[in-house]
Symmetry: C2
Subunit: 213 residues, 2 copies
């Protein structure tokens, strides 16, 4: 019962509005007044709760950066799955994340390039440990019969193949699909299996033909 409309508290409304505006327009493009309007409150409240634009932005950015690095490492380290299953799970989860947060890639790339220093700070405070990554390279390398360095490149290629279709949406939609957003979305849907297939077929191709072209 009592299905009353739940009034979000002011801080929550601000965070929600700030996320929308910042992810869409970036720190430089966002206006405090716009965030206030979007939240339906007075502009002074933004400063009352978050002191400054910079501080409010950092609050949002910290959360979004953590979303951008989801818990994918456990998947790659699991000993319950074959590497083929790991790849499928990894790509599945990552693309699903971006389907739910389509602006996340462009936002993170924009802000990380605007202020490259900031990422070092967030990396150490977050649970993104590049220590575990070394372990991932080792384990996967063993399973796939690749060197650590080859796994590194393969990982970047896989991540690239997941992220770029979202970060480059306006280009892809316009250049490849003449602005037809249905076709673009269709393309994204296919992406999960396509990317996983790529990686898996690559590994199969390597096992058989070694180096000769």
């Amino acid at each position: 019962m009592t299905p009353q409309k739940i009034e979000k508290d002011t801080e929550g409304k601000i965070l929600e509005a700030a996320k929308r505006v910042f992810t869409l327009k970036g720190l430089d493009g966002a206006r405090m007044q716009e965030i206030a309007d979007e939240a339906g409150i007075n502009k002074a409240l933004l400063h009352y709760y978050f002191r400054s634009k910079e501080k409010l932005f950092m609050t949002i950015f910290r959360v979004e950066l953590n979303n951008f690095f989801p818990r994918l490492i456990p998947i790659l380290l699991s000993d319950e799955w074959t590497y083929v299953q790991k790849i499928r799970h990894f790509v599945d989860e990552y693309i699903e994340l971006f389907l739910k947060n389509p602006f996340l890639p462009a936002f993170v790339l924009r802000e990380v390039n605007r202020n490259p220093q900031v990422i070092a700070h967030f990396i150490v405070e977050s649970d993104i440990q590049s220590g575990k990554l070394k372990e991932v390279m080792r384990v996967l390398g063993k399973e796939m019969g690749l060197s650590s360095n080859e796994v590194l490149h393969l990982l970047i290629t896989t991540v690239s193949a997941c992220i770029f279709p979202f970060a480059g949406k306006p280009i892809i939609e316009q250049v490849l699909f003449n602005g037809n957003s249905d076709e673009y979305n269709q393309f994204l849907q296919e992406r999960k299996t396509m990317v996983a297939d790529f990686v898996i077929c690559y590994l199969k191709g390597r096992q058989i033909s070694n180096g000769n072209e």
Copy 2:
């Protein structure tokens, strides 16, 4: 003889300075005063030559967007090369371009997402014809034994694998190499052969094992 220092004309100095500032900071982050300082001229001259910030920006953006879509289609359509050679050439040229213009990917992605409408306009005025792209899919599909749709995904994956390491430099450098930029540059150098190998091995893997995992 006469190795006198060539004084660029004002318009050239402005364009050069505007390119540096805009590509690094974006339209929203750039300041007209900073561009003037960078060019070593009075701010009013920017308006004398280019009317407004927006107009100056568009002049730069038009050029950079064309750089971003280099003449790669002829490579893919050539009938002088096998598809393996085409892939190597394509990846080589594209990564070489970004090694020479490291900020190009981040800049284009940032601005294209800030104002997605603008790309439609530039696409039609430029020589980026998505008509030729259909032809590319068909030709490559035939050569590689793939459907047009599979070629599309393969193309995006290849382009992604070339672009993302540059667009995501701060992330990759920090997360994967603990901020060591020498290691990051080393990684970029290896990238040309790695990406091409990836695509080529994928195709070999497909030819042999069809579907079964």
